[in-house]
Amino acid sequence: MAEDRSPTVLRIDGGREAGIRRYFRAISAIVWKDLAAELRSRELMSAMLVFALLVILIFNFALELSVRSVETVTSGVLWVTFVFAGTLGLGRSMAIEKDRGCLDGLLLVPVDRSALYFGKLLGNLIFMLVVEAIVLPLYSLLFSVNLFDPRLLLVILLGSVGYSAVGTLLASMAVQTRTRDMLLPILLFPIVLPVVVAAVKASNAIQQSLEMATIWPWLNLLIAFDVIFVAAAFMLFDFVVEE
C-alpha cells in the first residue's frame, strides 16, 4: 500500500502498554461524552431527579409512620426510590446510544468491548450518585432520619455499584429490542434483588444503630454481589451487544 501522506497519520500499533492506555482512554472518553452530552441536554438527570422526588413525596403522604416504624421502613422506601429512578436513567442512557446508530459507533472502536461496558457503567454510576446526593437531604428532612452516617453512604455506594453493574449490562441487551422500556425492569429487578435486599437490610441496621457485627454480613454480601456482577458483565458484554 502507498504510504499515507497525511501529516497526522495515525498508526495504531500493538504493544501491551499502548493497549492498556487505549483501553483506559476509551473508558474516559465514554464517561466524558456521557457527562458532556448530559450537561448540555439535562434530559436524563432531570427525568431521574423529578421521578425520585415524586416517589419520595408519594411515599411521604401515603405512609403515616410512627417514630418506631420510620427506622424500619425508610430504608426500603429509600432503595425503592433509587431503584426506580436508576432504571429510568439506565434505559435512557442506552437509548441515547441507540439513537443515530451511536451504539454501532461504539462497537466499531478498536478496543476490547469490556472498555465500552466500563465506560457506560461509570457514566451511569455517576448519574445515579448525583441523583442520590440530591435526594438524600430531602429524604432526611421529610422522614426526620439521619441519613448522613458514613456507613450508610458506603452502603449506598456499594448498592449503586451493584445496581449499575447489572443494569448497564441488561440495558445494553434491552435497548436492542422493540420493547426495551418494558423489558429492562422485567429483566433487571429479579436479578438485582440480592443487591437491593442486602442494601435495605444494611441500611436498616445502620438506621437502628445496631452493632457492626450485624451490619457486616450484609456489607460482605453487597461487596460479593458487586464483584460477581461486574465480573459477569465484563465477560458477557461482548455477547450481549453482538448482533
Binding site: M1, P7, I12, G101, C102, L108, E242
Partner: protein, 232 residues
C-alpha cells in the same frame, strides 16, 4: 486485502447471504450494487465486524473476522445508514470523542483537517442535532476518515448529500484510493458508481452474481447487464 469465501448469513430461518465469495485487493475500489433487501448492508456490516457470519470465512489483511476483530477495526473507516453521531454534542466534540476512542495522535490538528475536508469548519461548534441530514452525513464521512483507515466501508454514502457534498465526497474517495486505500461501497446509483470505482459487483440472491470491470464496459451496457442479472 479483503477475502471472503462461502459467506453465509442467517437471520433466524431467513438466509440472506448464500455462499458469497468476494475478493478485493489493496488499493482497489469496488461498488456493490443490488436490489433492496439483497444483503448489501448485511455484507458490509459483517466486513465492519458489526455482525457475525453464520458460515464461511472472512479476512482483512490476513486477519480473520470475527476472531481478530479488534485488529480489523483499527484498519476500517465505516459509514452506515445512520451517522453514528451524538446530537447533544457539537461536530467538534463528536470528532474529539472519536479521536480519543481511536487514540488518534495530534487529535486537534486532525480534527481541523477533517472538518476542513468535509466543509464543516464554520459549523464546528453547532450541535449535531441542529444539522441537516446532509450535514450529518458530511460529518459521518469525516468521522469515518478521522483515524486515516486503510479500508473504507461506505454504505450508500451519497444519501442526503447536496451537489457540493457529492463533489466533495467524490474527491475524498478518489484521493483515498489514489493513496492506496481500499474502498468497498454499497450503492444504488450505477452510473455514478461506475465513474468512481474500478469494479462493480452485483449482489443477487445472496451471492455476487456478476462482476464488471469499469474500464472495460460503457455505462449503458453495464446498466443492461445489471438489469439482466437482478431481474433475470
Amino acid at each position: 486485502m479483503i477475502e471472503v469465501r462461502n459467506l453465509v448469513k442467517n437471520f433466524g430461518w431467513k438466509r440472506v447471504l448464500r455462499g458469497l465469495d468476494f475478493r478485493v485487493g489493496r488499493g482497489e475500489s469496488v461498488a456493490i450494487l443490488g436490489l433492496n433487501g439483497t444483503g448489501k448492508t448485511t455484507f458490509l456490516r459483517i466486513l465492519a465486524t458489526l455482525s457475525r457470519p453464520s458460515g464461511g470465512s472472512v479476512s482483512m489483511a490476513g486477519q480473520a473476522i470475527p476472531s481478530q476483530s479488534i485488529q480489523v477495526r483499527r484498519r476500517i473507516g465505516v459509514v452506515l445508514h445512520q451517522p453514528l453521531l451524538y446530537g447533544d454534542l457539537t461536530a467538534e466534540e463528536n470528532l474529539r470523542y472519536y479521536a480519543r476512542m481511536y487514540d488518534v495522535q495530534s487529535g486537534k490538528t486532525r480534527i481541523d483537517e477533517v472538518l476542513d475536508l468535509v466543509g464543516l469548519e464554520m459549523q464546528r461548534r453547532e450541535l449535531v442535532r441542529k444539522y441537516s441530514r446532509g450535514m450529518q452525513q458530511r460529518l459521518a464521512i469525516g468521522r469515518a476518515l478521522l483515524h486515516t483507515p486503510d479500508v473504507l466501508l461506505f454504505d450508500e454514502p451519497y444519501t442526503g448529500l447536496d451537489t457540493d457534498a457529492v463533489i466533495m465526497l467524490d474527491a475524498v474517495l478518489k484521493d483515498a484510493v489514489s493513496q492506496g486505500r481500499t474502498l468497498v461501497m454499497a450503492s444504488h446509483d450505477l452510473p455514478h458508481a461506475a465513474g468512481l470505482v474500478s469494479r462493480i459487483d452485483i449482489l443477487s440472491k445472496g451471492r455476487i452474481a456478476d462482476s464488471i470491470s469499469c474500464s472495460e464496459m460503457p455505462v449503458g451496457e453495464m446498466v443492461l447487464r445489471y438489469k439482466a442479472v437482478t431481474h433475470g
